[in-house]
Amino acid sequence: MQPIDTVAVQEALNRFANRDVYIHLETTNGAYASHHNEGFYSVGAYIRNACIRFTRGKITGPGPYRVGLKLDLGWVYAEGLTHWEWTEKGQLLLAGHDDQGKLAVALELSDEPFV
């Protein structure tokens, strides 16, 4: 993956607007966060292959970046995004890695379900 280029990511988001797209969104502290630090309150969330349609997607922030997708009746967003990739299948992959390179958040969009 490459460090996020906001212009390129914005163009990619625009391409997915106003049509059915499959989304993968997850946040994680890692399964061992509370093990290594007893006081750490570990949380995560995960959704995969939900089909959504957004009217506008936008990337903001000074970096790490935030992406918000506005739906007719709601919202999807992710924060802490640092890297991106446009796959051969035309999927937009966005990820946020911590200072050790570990994945902390992922937001991905695809015309076809993720396998």
Binding site: T60, G61, R66, G68, K70, W75, Y77
Partner: protein
């Protein structure tokens, strides 16, 4: 001090409580009409009361009731709920958001607007809210624009903006201010308990600080 109309624009219920509610109470007691445009209902707040009495789905309704109670206490008779979603303001269309705020400003014709200083208010919703207010008012001829007093609390705000040029002692309405803070129970209960143990909260709450927005044109 004697304003024609005061327009307060913040993104979350309780944004007015700690830094601005004394100033609002003083204006209201002077007979100045105050309009509060609140962009969201703080739907994504992480405080749920101590012990918790709200959940993700009930929180907006609870915070709406808390906001209405705070407005009653402060003497705000005109509360506008703009219906945006917490933590999404920065993703909205900037022109459309400015249009909504411009319409309220045109209708109420304030001599003073209070909001967050764009770029110096830490939370993305705060910065986006302040930026929308500035964008809305910038459409007006410079000589017709109301004064804008901005709240800022980023670590670098004094380094970049200098000292706040408006420092108000709100001791005379401190009881009203405390009541307004307490009205936002779901958000402030834990904070107020912690503050009372520390003991220095009252001195901090008696002073409200603003930076007058300096237009760049």
């Amino acid at each position: 001090m004697n304003e024609r109309h005061v327009l307060v624009v913040f993104p979350h219920p309780d944004d007015e409580a700690f830094g601005v509610s004394g100033t609002i109470a003083e204006h209201a007691q002077n007979g100045t009409p105050v309009t509060y445009a609140c962009l969201t209902l703080g739907e994504m707040g992480r405080n749920m009361g101590v012990p918790p009495f709200a959940n993700r789905e009930t929180l907006p309704l609870i915070r709406k009731q808390e906001l209405e109670e705070a407005c009653r206490i402060l003497g705000i008779r005109d509360l506008r709920l703009l219906g945006y979603r917490d933590k999404t303001i920065e993703f909205e269309d900037e022109e459309e958001l400015a249009d909504r705020i411009a319409a309220i400003a045109a209708e109420t014709n304030p001599s003073l607007v209070i909001t967050f200083y764009p770029g110096y208010s830490v939370h993305p919703d705060h910065d986006a809210c302040g930026a929308a207010v500035i964008r809305a008012l910038k459409r007006w001829p410079k000589e017709k624009r109301p004064t804008v007093h901005c709240v800022a609390f980023a670590k670098n705000c004094e380094q970049d903006l200098g000292q706040p040029d408006v420092v108000r002692d709100v001791s005379s309405v401190i009881d009203t201010k405390l009541a307004a803070i307490r009205a936002h129970r779901s958000q402030t209960e834990g904070l107020m308990q912690a503050a009372s143990k520390r003991g220095d909260a009252l001195a901090w709450l008696k002073t409200e600080r603003f930076w007058t927005y300096r237009w760049d044109d």
